[in-house]
Amino acid sequence: MRVRERDRAAVRRAVALGLAVAAAATVTACAPPQSANTVNLYYAPEENLQTVVDKCNDEAQGKFKIVYHKLPRDADGQREQLVRRLAAQDDGMDVLGLDTTWTAEFARAGWVREWTGEDRQQAEAGTLSGPLESARYGGKLFGAPKNTNVQLLWYRSDVVRTPPRTWDDMIEQARRLKAEGRPATVLIPGAQFEGYVVQYNTLLASAGGKLISDDGTRAVVDEGAVRALEQLKALADSGLTSPSMSNAQEDDIRLEFQQGDAAFQLNWPFVYPSMQEDAPEIARNVHWARYPTSDPNRPSKVTIGGFNLAVSAYSPRPAASFDAALCLRSAENQRFSAVKDGLPPTIESVYAAPEMAAEYPMRDTILEELRDPAIRPITPAYQNVSTVLSKLLSPASAIDPPRTAERMRTEVQNALDSQGVMP
């Protein structure tokens, strides 16, 4: 009997302890350490961002203390968490890492504050115009560009002699390589997702086309848009793509390229450091060139990506938040992130920094593309437009240029009016 009772007491203690632990965990999970000047940063996982945060906190000397909360790894997951909390007017978030395509949406919904006065001047000074444009909505600035991004053509210099300048030339070269029995595949992320729309937008802009009117309210879908459709279709029908093209995202094609059967890869610069680590013998022969153009008469215009730092409309500490955001994107810290995390800076002068030459060899090509970039349509409904587009573009082999363009016109217009059904 005594033994049983002791057992029961032990169980009770264990349960009580468990509850206490659970309660403590919940409390810490919900309420980040708060003090009057804590700035909660919600940003995508970035390997060395914590170092930047620590540096800023040291320099601030108590003016603010940034706490870095990692958002999910994938863009949709990041946006969902931010949107959900902002829609509920959560005041626990101060500085937000926004993908360039979300800025208009968050601004229109009234979730982020406008950058004004001194802060605005500082955010704009020396910043490349492309990334800056992606942070504006209705003539106002809503984000400070932290890093930008742009895709390059990666090719195997051991099989490709001169990198192709045009899309058609790339297909032609690949065809010749295939006939010779050498690595010939052209890798492009063609899954039904945003990354595929980026490819389309690049082809479209390079052809001088337009999808949506400048004020972001009307679907245009002009001849350039049709031309871009034809080119995607030509690649898909060439038999030179990967069999899993229509299910592949950026990281999938990076892995496939490292297997060694491909000659070309259209992808972001993150593939470069990964290749050095995972497939050094292939990496040795990998070079880069400007993304091939649609129109032989003009250079390609490549879609930019990247992140803008915005301050939540519900932040109780806007002044400290703007200061913190400016520190996170300072020229010095952008240089650090470029070298350590491979992120292209938004401040032009950073590209000339001496360390960049060794650690970031493709910086000149990137800068060249960034000086005349393509920007994805700026509209609050971009997410909806992109979902519709990715559906109509996928799989690439099913594109029927004039018909697909016609469907784009109606469905993009519906998306802009927030009336259609997203596939």
Partner: protein, 296 residues
């Protein structure tokens, strides 16, 4: 009125009083979101344009019901549900019979067969996805040298296989409880009357198991109709493999279109309610809790 009657009534009142708080919480937790969704479905309400919120009556329903994406998704959902259910029922029944008759290691057999059901769907779905991707997977090159997840028919088949693999054990478990209802006496009597094995199965076992079969099929149909995670991981709805749940999620969470998204949720709710209603009507007499006349 006798004393026992009064006592009984008092007891019943006490019973009601005791479960009232729980019942109220249930109504608040499940009823309120449903009502709110219905209310939202009559509005144009997009979180991106909070100032343009307005009442639009049945417009959203017309938009959704007149849209080909919705009907494609609906067709895919019905197809996945029906094919999956047929396969699962046959396999589940076979598995249940084996488990029921297992002589040695009965507990082990039952536990082992439940493993797929215990694995988190998303995790299992990822392993399926890699298995079916050329180069990284061991299954992709088994049938052809293409990529099966890039075509509609094979994608749907893979989704169905993943679902069947995961939930057949659950079906088997439910059917096994039904098998336990079949008494050995009945089977022996049938055998003496000269019934063949198949006759004993169809004429004796199945009718006795009817309530269990109804529960198993009903639960699985409702579950299968809401299929979501396998699709999101395997194809993200590409190649027209979206189910209605994936579509509702896309419009509601990704598109922030509360009006259209809620309309889809309400339509899914209605479809599920209809399925449940039809099942109970069809299998009426066997519904658990029904009396002999088939009335509830």
């Amino acid at each position: 009125m006798s004393a026992t009657d009064t006592a009984k009534r008092a007891e019943r009142r006490l019973g009601w009083a005791l479960c009232a708080p729980a019942a109220l919480v249930m109504v608040a937790v499940t009823g309120w979101p449903i009502l709110y969704a219905v209310w939202l479905s009559f509005q144009r309400y997009d979180l991106k344009y909070p100032d343009q919120r307005e009442f639009v009556g049945l417009d959203n329903y017309l938009t959704v019901l007149g849209n080909q994406y919705w009907w494609t998704a609906f067709g895919a959902t019905v197809l996945i549900t029906v094919v999956q259910l047929v396969i699962e029922f046959v396999l589940g029944m076979a598995l249940a019979l084996i488990m029921h008759r297992a002589l040695i290691g009965r507990g082990l057999v039952r536990t082992v067969s439940l493993i797929p059901y215990g694995i988190v769907t998303v995790v299992a779905a990822f392993s399926w996805r890699y298995a079916w991707t050329p180069d990284t997977g061991y299954l992709a090159n088994l049938f052809s040298d293409g990529a099966p997840l890039t075509e509609r028919a094979s994608s749907l088949a893979i989704i169905i296989v993943a679902e069947v693999w995961k939930t057949t054990p659950f079906m088997a478990l439910l059917l096994m409880t039904g098998l336990a209802l079949v008494s050995e006496d009945l089977l022996e009597a049938a055998q003496i009357d000269g019934a063949s094995k198949w006759q004993r199965f169809t004429k004796v076992m199945l009718p006795v198991m009817k309530p269990a079969i109804l529960v198993a099929l009903l639960f699985r149909t409702l579950d299968a109709f809401r299929v979501f995670d396998n699709i999101v991981v395997l194809t993200e709805g590409a190649q027209d493999t979206s189910s209605v749940s994936v579509l509702a999620y896309n419009n509601l969470i990704k598109g922030l279109n509360l009006g259209i998204g809620s309309t889809m949720s309400v339509l899914i709710f209605l479809a599920v309610a209809l399925i449940a209603f039809l099942f109970v009507k069809l299998f009426g007499t066997a519904a658990p809790g029904a009396d002999d006349d088939g009335r509830r």
